[in-house]
Symmetry: C2
Amino acid sequence: MEKQVNNFEDKLRDNSLKLTGPRQCILNYLACNRDKHLTADDIHRLLLQNDEKVGIATVYRTLALLEKLELINGIYLEDGCVRYQLMDTKEKHEHHHLICEKCNRIIDMQDDLLERLERQVNEKYGFCVKNHKVKLYGICKECGQMKD
Amino acid sequence: MEKQVNNFEDKLRDNSLKLTGPRQCILNYLACNRDKHLTADDIHRLLLQNDEKVGIATVYRTLALLEKLELINGIYLEDGCVRYQLMDTKEKHEHHHLICEKCNRIIDMQDDLLERLERQVNEKYGFCVKNHKVKLYGICKECGQMKD
DNA sequence: GTTAGTGCAAAGAATTTGCAAATAG
DNA sequence: CTATTTGCAAATTCTTTGCACTAAC
């Protein structure tokens, strides 16, 4: 978390952008909830709950900025709103998500098992893979165990 | 294509839904453009161009129906609108998409190389994979060859 | 002080909904 | 004939934008 915040300050400086209250706040919330997948609205609501008066427009603008600076990743599910999560600096690519079709939980998955696939894509399609977004849909352990 | 249309008629009958002009038309457009990735608006525009007077609401309702009947798949890109494509009845899962970050082309990829990954997910997370959505981002062959 | 960032309210885009009229079975 | 579907326009949802005001550097 420290690392990302420092990283953020550097990236802002490099682009002559300003380190403002709302920006610090929003990055902080994401850093404290790296396991969650928050929408702009979630973050806005969280801020208001903690008496941080930040407009929703600023939340959107900050999330767009953080995504451009490659500090967060957007996840696009089927419900029409984007969810964000802090990027793991150790990751080469984005990590994968398991989405339970019963409880709608989103489970993070760190394994990077797509290297072989990416190599084959390069050979067969001449396509040079830079990033990937993998979502696996199914039934999670807990839901699978319930005998409804 | 014949197969899908028949399949469609059966599925409608099974659910006491009606086979209407707009529904046939829309499925037909998708069947004739299985390699494309059309938005509701694309389809609506196509229909109007061919003097089929169908309201945009009907297009949305029909696409939702076709998706529920598992005849088409929705692809959720970063531009905020859903694109649809006829499902290939031969496929176990959805196929993958390569998205070029330069020309924004979407390339279909039939290989199903995720079986090993899915097996490991099942072992490690107890998660039973039913479907997947894989998008690989990068630079396509043509864009990679351009020396701009 | 200058430039970038913010909040607000209004605009925009994609999609959904309510309802009376139309149509398939 | 009856239940489903349609078209239209209005509503909704998520997101973006314009602009005067504020805050970083």
